[in-house]
Amino acid sequence: MNTNLWALLFGIVGGVAGGMGMGGGTLLVPLLSMLDIEQKIIQAINLLSFLPMSIIAVIIHKKHGLIQGKVLLPCIIPTMIVGTMGALLASSARNNVLRFCFAVYLLAVGVWQTVLSVIAYKKAHLRKQRAMRVIACPTYTQLKAKKRIRRLAV
């Protein structure tokens, strides 16, 4: 299939991920790396293709009042400075170095997110277990019933 067609398809997949807040491009880059495109170019494609969607998203979010204005400047300044430096450095870096670094980044974020979700599942599970145990205990339900009757009688 034509490279450009794959780009469209991968764009859709990557876009869904980005739209769900999973960070722009975390799926797009590995997908594009299956095609015969330089890592540097893939990164450029990634950045540029998320630009229009980000602009629209920000406009919509601003309308819904979801953007916290106060934190913008203190966060944007360091991000911009280091980001610009990084972009300049990337153009003189080798493609396989960039690919390696990106792969490491994906693994790190992937492991981190997986661990977080497993912890969240465990917490929810424990909470459920505790709740079931409490409800199953006859003394507890009797106590609750008595309290309710007393409250209603007042």
Partner: protein
């Protein structure tokens, strides 16, 4: 107060580096920063993170464009795909369990990372 400033600068810098040097992403760290240091609720954190990443994405894009010759046809289609997919993703987000999504994507990211390492 000081600790907050240091963490903010540090995480923002790393996030910017990921955006500039690795060409994208970085938003994950910004969201984390907003959730912890600034204690924003989840939705606000994600929305604000996009706003924070936007300028650096624009500048990085410019740098990449000036320093490389880009395949604009491929780029255009990818951008179109992202716009379409992003709309779906945002709509889908409301309907799915947040934690399940996190788990699935975490696994996908690991798979992606491994795939890229193997392709080296």
């Amino acid at each position: 107060m000081n600790k907050k400033i240091v963490v903010t600068i540090l995480l923002s810098a790393v996030s910017g580096w990921i955006n500039g040097f690795l060409g994208g992403g970085g938003g994950v760290l910004t969201v984390m920063l907003l959730l912890t240091v600034f204690a924003l609720p989840q939705k606000k954190a994600q929305a604000t993170a996009i706003a924070i990443i936007l300028p650096v994405t624009a500048v990085s894009s410019l740098v990449y464009m000036l320093k490389n010759s880009l395949p604009y046809a491929t780029l255009g289609l990818a951008a179109l795909g992202v716009a379409i997919g992003g709309t779906f993703g945002a709509l889908l987000l409301n309907k799915l369990n947040g934690n399940a999504v996190k788990l699935i994507f975490g696994l996908f990211l690991i798979a992606g990372g491994v795939k890229m390492l193997l392709a080296l």
